[in-house]
Symmetry: C2
């Protein structure tokens, strides 16, 4: 297993005094992986896991991801330096209400949710606008669910978008960024609305297109589908319940991306209808070049996604 | 290197007397790979390569893919049992005209083009309707071009669609199917129009969507693109000139697929706009299930595509 860079680069001592107790609410793939990565960086950090199902909590205990298991978050967060929300976004409001009265002074709260405007607004209303919440979106994961797929190196090499609002104290933002860097991610800072527009275009709309594409061909045609179709539809393998929530919480930005996409699709339709060879080639060349210049030039994340 | 199954399964003797001389017109990735695969099955087969550029022909000679190199196809095809067209589809008409007067009695002609209705119609007009042409579409390849990327195992495990017309003699169809099976492909038979509709949905429309998707996000958003976006846009890395021709020769079927896709996209837009959680989850579940039941259950082609 590849260890998070913090351990390899000897960053550990600087972090130790800051993270003695951490609470992870939701010990699934992401929460469990964050816990394992923290433990790999510093075995002395104490991690409290909060969950709804005793079975998942027991698995997280058995995996060595958490030290204590709780059905009620209140006693878990009392002494935590950091609380990480790692349940589906739809449950955040409840958790924030539950933990608000019990957070200790100086604690930071972050999350791993895929949409940010609604989450940050909600968190600032429930916990206060000048902290302790800073939104995070680590761009890692897979089609797999649950703590049994959690790995200490899940975040290694991935990008994590940190989304302060205009009212978040800069020191708190840097603290959350350092936390994600410790886990091996490259951090990028964006406002919550900017984040939502970005992921609508690079993640949520692609997901929708993959699902629709998967449903388009008749069964006979599907028999001859090859690697190209498999790659183009890989995102359709995602968890439907989780993606339903992502689509709904970010629907404004997704509708915007969808409208811009559909406009381009209709333009391409016109080019095809007219048989405009020159413009078609121009468009294909532009897309190929942009991909080579961005995705292939400085690969953000070279790990192969598990299927 | 993995050898084509024919060699491993000992099918060789049955084939030897049928393929003594083969002509490959266009010694690029596909033509060169077909030649190398044939040579791997039977080193005694004589392969004539036809090309426009002396340099490519020399490379094919050096790679041991072909035995003789020709700028003019006429002398090459005179004694061939099989002629394979492996140039871009747009050049087929010229090649068919050039070889028509020189084909020997009993020779078969096939191709590796990605669209079939126009190709089969053209070939039957120029060579005759009761043979010797049978269209083929091996679903293999990569973003790479040229004989320097050719490999004897390029077709191993891939699917090859063989597209007889209603007038093609069954014996000729079986002969071409056996040829592709010898090279390691699984063959599927479809009519030319049926083929074009199928590949419009599973290959051509996905290509168009990938290119448009690659051009959608602004540069700042692209910086946080992860594996999901990279997979979803992989097809956009294809050769623009080749894909321009594919899109134009199959535009009727692609326009049909595009219209059906756009209808579904607008339906999904409505669901998002209305916030219809139930129907959204149903759609995502259906797509996930269909993918698991088809693409993942009986993997047609498990090789990782080169990037």
């Amino acid at each position: 297993m590849e260890l998070p860079p913090a351990l390899r680069w000897g960053k550990l001592p600087a972090m130790r005094d800051k993270l003695r107790h951490v609470t992870v609410i939701g010990v699934g793939l992401l929460g469990g992986s964050a816990a394992l990565a923290l433990k790999a960086c510093d075995p002395s950090v104490r991690i409290a896991g909060v969950g709804r199902r005793r079975e998942s909590l027991q698995m997280a205990l058995d995996a060595g991801a958490i030290d204590t298991a709780h059905l009620d978050p209140a006693p878990a967060v009392v002494q935590s330096d950091l609380v990480i929300l790692a349940t589906p976004v739809g449950a955040f409001a409840r958790h924030l209400r539950e933990i608000a009265p019990h957070l200790r002074r100086g604690a930071a709260v972050t999350d791993v949710g895929s949409t940010k405007s609604a989450v940050v607004r909600q968190a600032e209303r429930l916990l206060g606008a000048g902290g302790p919440f800073v939104g995070s979106h680590p761009m890692a994961g897979s089609e797999q669910k649950g703590v049994s797929f959690a790995r200490a190196d899940l975040f290694a090499g991935a990008t994590c978008i940190v989304t302060p609002s205009t009212r978040t104290p800069p020191r708190l933002v840097r603290r959350i960024e350092r936390f994600w860097q410790l886990l091996g991610t490259r951090t990028v800072r964006m406002g919550p609305a900017e984040h939502d527009r970005a992921v609508a275009a690079i993640s949520h709309l692609p997901h929708v297109l993959a699902s629709l594409l998967m449903l388009l061909p008749d069964s006979h045609s599907l028999q001859v589908a090859a690697t190209g179709f498999r790659d183009a539809t890989r995102l359709a393998g995602g968890d439907p319940e989780m993606w339903r929530d992502i689509l709904l919480t970010n629907r404004r930005a997704i509708l915007g991306a969808l409208d811009r996409f559909d406009e381009r699709l209709m333009h391409l339709r016109d080019l095809l209808e007219m048989g405009d060879a020159r413009e078609l080639e121009k468009l294909l060349t532009l897309a190929k070049k942009r991909r080579a210049d961005t995705l292939l030039k400085e690969p953000v994340d070279r790990r192969l996604a598990a299927e």
